[in-house]
Structure formats: structure tokens, C-alpha cells
Amino acid sequence: MPDSVTQAPQPLNEAELASMVAEACATRAPVWVCGNGSKSEMLRPVQASRSISTAELRGVTLYSPTELILSARAGTPMAEIEATLAERGQHVIAEPPDFSHLLGSSKAQTIGGVVSTNLSGPRRIAWGAMRDHVMGLRAVNGHGEVIRAGGRVLKNVTGLDLCKLLSGAHGTLAVITEVTIKVLPAPERQATLVLPGLDPTRGVAALSAALGSPYAVSAAAYLPREAARRLPALAWVDRSVTLARIEDFTASVLYRTDRLRADLAAFGPAEILDDGASRAAWAGVRDAVPLPSAPEQAIWRISVRPSAGPAVAARLQQAFGAGWFLDWGGGLVWIAGPATEAAHAEVENAARAGGGTWTLFRGPLALRATVDVIPPEPNALAAIAARVKSAFDPAGILNPGRMRASL
């Protein structure tokens, strides 16, 4: 939490939260919107003297396993939701990461925070992002009005899709108070094909072949040797690793792993991580454990077309000795490097050259307040963005400056 924010009593329910926002709107007093604050070190610092937290809005409000639907209040810890689902053999599809260690937080992340930041794990490349599975939500806009979007059914095109707009808006448009997500049965078993020793370009070519196969590969990552060594499940390889995961019923996993190994024979002999080792390896990839962990380093997340990932990584390794690894088939480039404006400029240029997008994911306050933590938008779109912000939050009180200095 920013030092400037004073601790105040937090709302115990949506109605209280709405009246606090309405009051802030009336007095044009900016508020820092958060859950437990586990991701407060992401993006830009918020200029606000008080916070409104959803931390006390807790609890699963609806869970219908046969309808593949779960609703929970925004402050419900993600771990509680995952445990509830696990009891019925189901899971959160986007495999949301937990970046507590990366962001230096000991707080339990909430479902409201995961949706507001639209953070997704390795399964994203095959099964979609967190926002793809948000079927409904309740939120309080900057007027202090309660608005609902979507619903509790899996198919719904009624009106504008505010679920997607508010997912990933980092609390700048409205305060999400309750979320309904689609869930799926957790696969019975998983296994991971490991191709050791490939160079990055060849590794991503193997990942493309795996993701372009009929075997429903559910995750695909490339870790250079030093990154792989940070994962206990993979340290034994002692070379770069190219990883492709298959999750399904046991017989299918065995069959498809075999077929995939044969199809990828041109990339060399493959090892197989069985269920337990596979789970451990992907939990590490999900939470960005393979990155160097020096706390003074900045961390960026770059998203480009998968085949462009190796060039982006190589360019930044050359520019400032970046530590890195690739997820999402090569398209998600995790970068660690010096927390300087010069390094950030290199990241911007590399992401642009790769035709993609970047997020300064972690860095000292001064750097985050100075640079564009996400790419600026073309003027025509920036003007629309400003009007959309105003359509929700005319007084500009919700998380001002969190995503962009101008919003």
C-alpha cells in the first residue's frame, strides 16, 4: 500500500462500498481501489489519500458444479475458491498465477484482484485468459451506482460486454464487488514433454509444432538453462528446456504424450515429466519463478506473436544482460533487468519491433511513475479511452494514474 494512504474502516458489504464511492465522487476525493493489495506494486502508483478495499466482501455465493459456474464476492481469497473447486474436482480455467513473491507481498490475492488485473497462467495459450471466463460481475461505478454485467450463464450476448471491459481495467472504471466465472473439471492427470538443449528459436519452433498438433497441448514454455535451474523439478536437466504439457484422462495423456514425442522427434529425444513433477514445474512457470529474483531488478512482461519471442529475448539479453524465459508458446516474454529508464526504453523498442505489447510489471516507484508502464495508445483511441473512463468515473476518483498518467 502506498505510504500516503490512510487506513480507514473498510466496507463490509456492497451497499457500504457504494456509498463510500458516492461520497468520494461528491467530494472529488481520489481513492486507491484494492482487494488485499497483493498487487499494489504493479503498474503506476495511485495518487490517493484514502483506500477503498473489497477485502471484507468475502465468500462464495453460488457454486453449481454441473452448470460449470462459480460466483464469489470480490474479496474472496483465490486460494479459497481453488479449494472449493478442488473438492468437486474442478478448477479455474486460466490457471491464474500468484505473483506474491515477485511483488514482495505476503497478502492472499483475491478473485477481484485476479479479474481486475486479468492475469492468466500457462494454460492461457490454449484455453484463454482470465477475462475469457468471466461470465458475470457486479461492480460499483464512479458515481457510486451498482451495475451488473453478464450473468450466471455460459452464453450471453445481451448488451455491451462490460465483463471484459472491467476485467483488466485495474479498478480504474469501477470497483468489482462480485464475480461469476466459468469453471471446468480439473483433468485427471497431466504430463510434460521435455526437449533438452534446444536453442531458443528451435525451441519455439518445437512449441509451435506442439501447439499446432491435434493433441490439445495445454501449455508450452521455453526456459534457458539458467532459468530452468531455478525450478527444482527441472534443475536436473542442466540445459535449456522446451516444455509441452498435456492434461486429460490418464489414458489420453499417455497416448498423446507418446504421439507428441514421435511427432517432435526431429527436435531430439524427449524426456517426460510425470504428473507430480509436471505440476511442480508449471506452478513455477506460472508464478515466474524462473526469473532472477534480485529485488532491485525490474521485471517486464512482453506479449508478442510466439515466433517473435526469441528475438525479443535475444535483443534484451544483448542490451542489458536480461534474465528471461518464454511462456505461451514463446509469445509471453518475461524479462528481468536493471530498473533504469534506459533499460525500459530498450524493452519498449523490443516489444514494438516484435509487434506486441509490454507491461512494466515490477520496479521502483520512481521508475513506475516516470515511464509508460504499458504502451501509449494512438491519439484517436486515447481520446475514446478518456471518454470511456469518464463514462464510468466522471470525477476521476477511481485509481487515478494506475494504468496511465492521463487516466
Binding site: G89, G128, V153, K155, L160, Y255, G331
Partner: protein, 479 residues
């Protein structure tokens, strides 16, 4: 006739100069102004409503779309975007003072990238056209609306179209990476690209399904997937809707997510069997079509598990397809359901609500009661995995009261869908058809929030007006 905003008299009076202006932007054959040639554009898949537009513009490039849009904006002219005109909710219904911008000439596939599993296509490429373009490498584009032979990807984006395989592959929104849009002022903007998850607001998610309210779409970057090794369907017939519903719950509860899970009620089974001769059992009250994919061994394994579950619910019959041909026959009935109903009734209205799947038996019982009360027959097809219900209401349009009665019945069904926790439309869109029911699902506060978003993109409300939102024009957009 459905009400629309009052046409702008000033625009209609300037019709000739507006046509001349469009002809300065587009080649001669790209502008239609003659009454007879406007006729094909006066309606869409919801043929009960008709309204010839002021003119039709048929651009061939994004730059032309932008120029037409900038011109219309400068002239205060309303615009109605149109793809193949297959909307079942009247999404492409013109207004008397509007220029229809038809995207059918923008029908080129611009790029296919198998390594990165995406394709860039113009808005006027048909849905099936994408799959056909990548099928030589055994790839496909997943969303498969019933109209996929005709409907265009631009329209799919605007309506966030679904299909029979959404349970596994998601709807249009889940299969997009990027868009090229043209704003109401004629600015060209790229949204997203061949990569995942742009930082910043999710414009891609907001514009998808926006029914032409926010911007025009000229190019789309879609995800393409490798086809599964194979797929196979089975039929399971039950004596009651309740047991079929319980069986669906049990299948999903067992951890199996079939790629498709379709339900038909008795009237629908009879209509489809008469049409397709697929071997549907005529003594059943409920029929499930269940499809799985994978290798032959995987199919056998999954179908075996599903059969075992079905047996616990006293099925009247269970039939597993033994070949691709049998699977096709099983699907032929379902895919032809709308046409099949068209054979037994002079006209029908296709509704499109979604309900929590647990409410199926209750909802079908209530629909049956309504049907008896109003004297109009109804057949129901249902995407049983995702809760999307398509009641087909049969009526005779030659009876003047018939259409009105059918509309009233349909509206009552949609109210029921909302009442049990569902929504007005699962995949067809609001359009003009469900516009005046929006207040059933949303509060006025919520509708105003959506209207303000529209205003943020389109302050003068020139883009596809009279759709989606109950009529209430912001003061600044009147003339």
C-alpha cells in the same frame, strides 16, 4: 412494424448530394441509390421487419470504409453496417435516413500463419471460408454458427456469434486476437494483433458483440486450431425431459466435457426426423446428441463412459455412431432443425435465451403451458452444455394476428429465461428484436451506463441507431 428513431428530415432532403458524395469516394458500382436495387438490403435474417435505406455503400478497402465513415460523420448521416445479412435479431435492419455499409466486397484472406496459429481476414470473409482456407493443413476456425456457410466474420465479431461447439472451443470473443476498426469519425485503429492480451482496456472484448454500436470492423485476426484426430457423435433418447437433464448433469459431473451436447424436445425430434431421416426415436420426449473428439481409442473410451452414465437414466435408446457417415446423419437432423420446422409451419420465430441448465425441465414445462394457452406450437432445441435455448415458435404470417401472437409468446419466453437466472440472448444478439426487453434484464442505471459507453465511441449516435438500447436518444444526437 418496429419503431425506430425519427429519420432526420434534413438528411433525406439531401439524399442526392449524399449519393454524389459517396460516389466521389467509391467506384461507381460501389454506391446503390435506386429503389429497386436497395430492395435486397431492406431486411436481414429477421425478415418480418423491412425498411429500405437511404443508400448502400460497398467499400473494397479499409481506407474506403474510413472515407465513407468520415463523410457520413461530417454530414450527420447514420450508418448501418452489414455483413451477409443473416442476423436473426434485425441487427442489420436499415433506417430510412441511413447509409448501409456492406462489407461483402472485403472478402480477402490477408495472411495465414500456421506457426503462430492465426489468420488475418477481411470482415466480409465467410465463417466457413476461414476454415476452408486453412483446411489443407488440417486447421480450422472454431466458432460454427448454424449460418456459417453464409455469415461473415465481421458480423460474427459484431454479434459475438456462438455455435454448437462453444462448450469446448468458446464463442467468437474467445477466438479473436485482433481487429482493425474504423471509428465514427473515420479513424483507422488497430486493436490487438497476433499476440495475447494487449495491455490497457480490453477494446477487443468490448467491441466484440457490440452490434455495430461502437465502431466498424474491417479486418479480424482470428486464432486457428489444428483439427482433432477425429470426432464421433452418439444419440441418447429419454422418456422425459427431466431424466435427460439429469443425465446431462451426470455427464458433466463426471468430468467429461463433450465437444457438443445438444438437446431436442419431442416436437423438434419429429420435425427433424421427417426432414433428415436420421433415425431419431419418435417415442422419446428428449433426445441428446453428444459428440466427443480425439483418436478412435479416445472416442471409444469417452463414448463408453458416457453410455454407462446414460444407462443409469433409463434411456429409450442409445446409439453410438460407428462411422463418420453415421455421425453426419446424426448431425444432419440437428443442423437442419430450423429448416425442418420451416417445413411443418408456414413461418416460425427463432428465440435465443439462455437459462441455467438446472432450470431446463421447469422452463420447458412453462413454455408448454404458454404454448397451450396461446395456441401456437413450439419446438425446442437447446445447447444443453451451455444453457442456450432456441424455442422455434410456429405461426402463419398470413394471419395478421399470427405474427403479433408469436412475438408476444417469444417475449414471454425471454422474460421467463431472465426470471430463472438467465438472459435474453445467448448468441443471436439484441438487435431490434429484443431491444424493448432490455429493461427486463437490466436496470435503467445499468442501461444508462451502457449508453454512456456508446456515447464515448459515438457521441452523435450515428452508428447502427435504434438497436440494442430502448429508444432514448441523448439530446446532442437528435439532428
Amino acid at each position: 412494424m418496429i419503431s425506430q428513431y425519427e429519420p432526420k428530415a434534413g438528411v433525406i432532403a439531401r439524399r442526392d448530394s449524399i449519393l454524389a458524395g459517396l460516389r466521389r469516394i467509391l467506384p461507381d458500382n460501389g454506391v446503390i441509390g435506386e429503389a429497386l436495387r436497395l430492395k435486397p438490403y431492406e431486411t436481414d435474417g429477421l425478415a418480418a421487419y423491412r425498411q429500405p435505406p437511404l443508400a448502400v455503400a460497398l467499400p473494397e478497402t479499409t481506407e474506403q470504409v474510413a472515407a465513407v465513415m468520415a463523410f457520413c460523420h461530417a454530414q450527420g448521416v447514420r450508418v448501418v453496417p452489414r455483413g451477409a445479412g443473416t442476423s436473426l435479431s434485425g441487427g442489420a435492419l436499415p433506417m430510412a435516413d441511413a447509409v448501409v455499409i456492406g462489407m461483402m466486397r472485403m472478402n480477402r484472406i490477408l495472411d495465414i500463419d500456421y506457426a503462430d496459429r492465426c489468420a488475418v481476414v477481411q470482415a466480409g470473409v465467410t465463417n466457413i471460408g476461414i476454415t476452408q482456407a486453412v483446411s489443407e493443413h488440417d486447421f480450422f476456425y472454431a466458432p460454427d454458427p448454424s449460418s456459417q456457410l453464409a455469415c461473415m466474420i465481421g458480423g460474427n465479431v459484431m454479434m459475438n456469434s456462438g455455435g454448437a461447439h462453444c462448450l469446448r472451443y468458446g464463442v467468437t470473443a474467445n477466438n479473436l486476437l485482433g481487429l482493425k476498426i474504423v471509428t465514427v469519425t473515420g479513424e483507422i485503429i488497430d486493436i490487438g494483433g497476433a499476440y495475447c492480451d494487449s495491455a490497457g482496456y480490453d477494446w477487443l472484448g468490448l467491441i466484440t458483440g457490440s452490434e455495430g454500436q461502437l465502431a466498424l470492423v474491417t479486418e479480424v485476426t482470428v486464432r486457428i486450431l489444428h483439427s482433432p484426430e477425429g470426432q464421433r457423435a452418439m444419440l441418447a433418447a429419454f422418456a422425459s425431459v427431466e431424466t435427460a437433464g439429469e443425465c446431462v448433469d451426470a455427464i458433466i459431473g463426471s468430468g467429461i466435457i463433450p465437444v457438443a451436447l445438444e438437446f431436442m424436445d419431442r416436437p423438434c425430434i419429429h420435425a427433424c426426423e421427417a426432414f433428415a431421416h436420421a433415425g431419431y426415436p419418435l417415442d422419446a420426449d428428449a433426445l441428446l446428441i453428444i459428440e466427443v473428439e480425439g483418436s478412435v481409442a479416445e472416442q471409444d473410451d469417452l463414448l463408453g463412459r458416457i453410455k454407462e452414465i446414460c444407462r443409469k437414466y433409463d434411456p429409450i435408446s442409445l446409439k453410438v455412431s460407428e462411422s463418420a457417415e453415421e455421425s453426419l446423419a446424426i448431425w444432419k437432423g440437428r443442423k437442419g432443425a430450423f429448416g425442418a420446422v420451416g417445413r411443418i409451419s408456414p413461418d416460425y420465430l427463432c428465440m435465443d435465451g439462455t437459462i441455467p441448465t438446472s432450470q431446463l425441465a421447469y422452463v420447458l414445462r412453462r413454455i408448454g403451458e404458454m404454448s397451450a394457452a396461446c395456441g401456437l406450437a413450439v419446438a425446442n432445441v437447446f445447447h444443453a452444455g451451455d444453457g442456450n435455448l432456441h424455442p422455434l415458435i410456429m405461426f402463419d404470417a398470413n394471419d395478421p394476428a399470427g405474427f403479433q401472437a408469436a412475438e408476444t409468446f417469444g417475449a414471454d419466453i425471454l422474460r421467463l429465461c431472465v426470471e430463472v437466472g438467465g438472459c435474453l440472448t445467448g448468441e443471436h444478439g439484441v438487435g431490434v428484436e429484443k431491444r424493448d426487453l432490455m429493461g427486463v434484464q437490466f436496470t435503467e442505471t445499468e442501461l444508462d451506463q451502457q449508453r454512456r459507453i456508446k456515447s464515448a465511441f459515438d457521441p452523435g449516435w450515428l452508428l447502427n441507431p435504434s438497436k440494442v438500447f430502448p429508444l432514448k436518444l441523448p439530446a446532442m444526437a437528435a439532428e
